[in-house]
């Protein structure tokens, strides 16, 4: 191989490495078959879809970030399909978006754990790696990323921040990449706008830190 070819391959490699974007999967909870919780201004699925679209737009203003929806409007996907999609895509982050009826603006963050929730396994027995333990493959990375949500404290005056709390939440079961549940309080559909700026800011900071 000539020196010229080698230099070209090296240049191409550097370009590919540089071009790899920080991929975030946004999962708006609810669909036509399962619209989720009822809020004064409609069902949860309408709020989550609207917010996910806005968040995607805000995130993609940063050229180093790629935001993908876990499913499109009208599609019905199970949790296992979402988990399989996220794991096969080897995305960097998975965000499950949830809304509930609340007069106060509030944002709660959860990440998956089952370590406290299962009786100690008998180590003499062979066991299959269940979906409730998939999180363990990226536990350290998730905990590291969880620290970034502390930066939301600067929004304490506008939002009631809760978490991040480790819990066995069904929305994250089976996901083997860092994943978080965001649960946001709203009354009207226009309330979703107030969460775009704080969350996109944290996710952008997170993406830049991970790329360094």
């Amino acid at each position: 191989m000539s020196l010229k070819n080698l230099a070209f391959i090296l240049l191409l490699f550097c370009f590919v490495v540089r071009a790899k974007k920080f991929t975030i999967i946004l999962s708006p909870e609810g669909d036509s078959a399962n619209p989720g919780r009822s809020l004064p201004d409609g069902f949860e699925c309408g709020f989550t879809r609207q917010y996910a679209e806005l968040l995607k737009e805000a995130l993609e203003q940063d050229e180093t970030i790629r935001a993908i929806m876990s499913h499109e409007v009208g599609e019905q996907v199970s949790q296992y399909e979402k988990a399989s999609f996220a794991n096969r895509l080897e995305a960097d982050l998975y965000i499950s978006i949830n809304f509930y009826s609340s007069e106060k603006p509030s944002l709660s963050i959860y990440y998956y754990t089952s370590s406290l929730f299962e009786p100690p396994a008998d180590s003499s027995r062979l066991e299959l790696f269940s979906t409730t333990k998939a999180y363990a493959l990226c536990d350290k990375q998730t905990k590291k990323m969880a620290q970034y949500w502390q930066l939301l404290n600067s929004y304490q005056a506008q939002l009631y921040i809760n978490g991040p709390i480790p819990l066995p939440v069904k929305q994250l079961e089976g996901i083997a990449i860092p994943a978080f549940v965001l649960e946001l309080g709203a009354q009207k559909i226009t309330d979703v706008y107030r969460y775009v700026q704080p969350v996109s800011e944290i996710l952008k900071k997170n993406a830049h830190e991970q790329k360094l």
Binding site: S108, P168, K170
Partner: protein
């Protein structure tokens, strides 16, 4: 005439088998749920003493009330009364529907407590945090009153408690997992 009689039997047998099949299918699909009335399964409290218990519940902040319950040597019986007391306080404060604890059992190794409700104590439309606080009310009450089983399973009709957000197919630790 004889033909008619056998024909009648055949029709009767067909209808009977059809009804039996439908009832069996409905039972399998859980359209029909058979439960023994609570009064028939409640064992008389043996070696019971009246004692004060602290019942905890979350209503914007942790609150507690002291009530008298029949304390039994059997941990499961005591746990049933404690959880029922929490449910009563929660329904008084949130004016929600009445929910009963059908039964509480301990596993063979005394490591797990199985709590059977008649319906889910978690409202559908509330936040994960609110649901968490209801569960923590049960756990805190059990913990503070000296129940020793380290893990609790929450069930409704012999199935893990159905919820859209929290996974009850796992045993919940009695220790303060929110702090952990």
């Amino acid at each position: 005439m004889r033909m008619n009689r056998s024909c009648k039997y055949a029709v009767f047998l067909t209808i009977f088998c059809g009804v039996l099949g439908f009832v069996y299918y409905a039972w399998q699909q859980r359209w029909i749920i058979v439960t023994i009335p609570a009064g028939l399964v409640t064992k008389p409290c043996t070696n019971c003493t009246k004692k004060r218990a602290q019942i905890f519940y979350f209503c914007n902040k942790w609150e507690h009330e002291n009530i008298e319950i029949l304390w039994s040597e059997n941990e499961a019986q005591t746990a049933q009364q404690l959880i029922q007391a929490v449910l009563l306080l929660l329904s008084e404060n949130a004016s929600t529907k009445k929910i009963a604890v059908e039964q509480v059992l301990t596993s063979a190794n005394n490591q797990q407590l199985l709590v059977f409700f008649d319906k889910s104590p978690l409202p559908k439309n509330v936040s994960i945090r609110a649901k968490l606080m209801i569960i923590e009310s049960f756990l805190k009450t059990l913990r503070e009153n000296g129940i020793k089983a380290p893990f609790i399973y929450f069930l409704v009709h012999n199935q893990p408690l159905p919820d859209a957000h929290l996974d009850f197919s796992l045993a919940w630790p009695i220790q303060d997992f929110v702090e952990n």
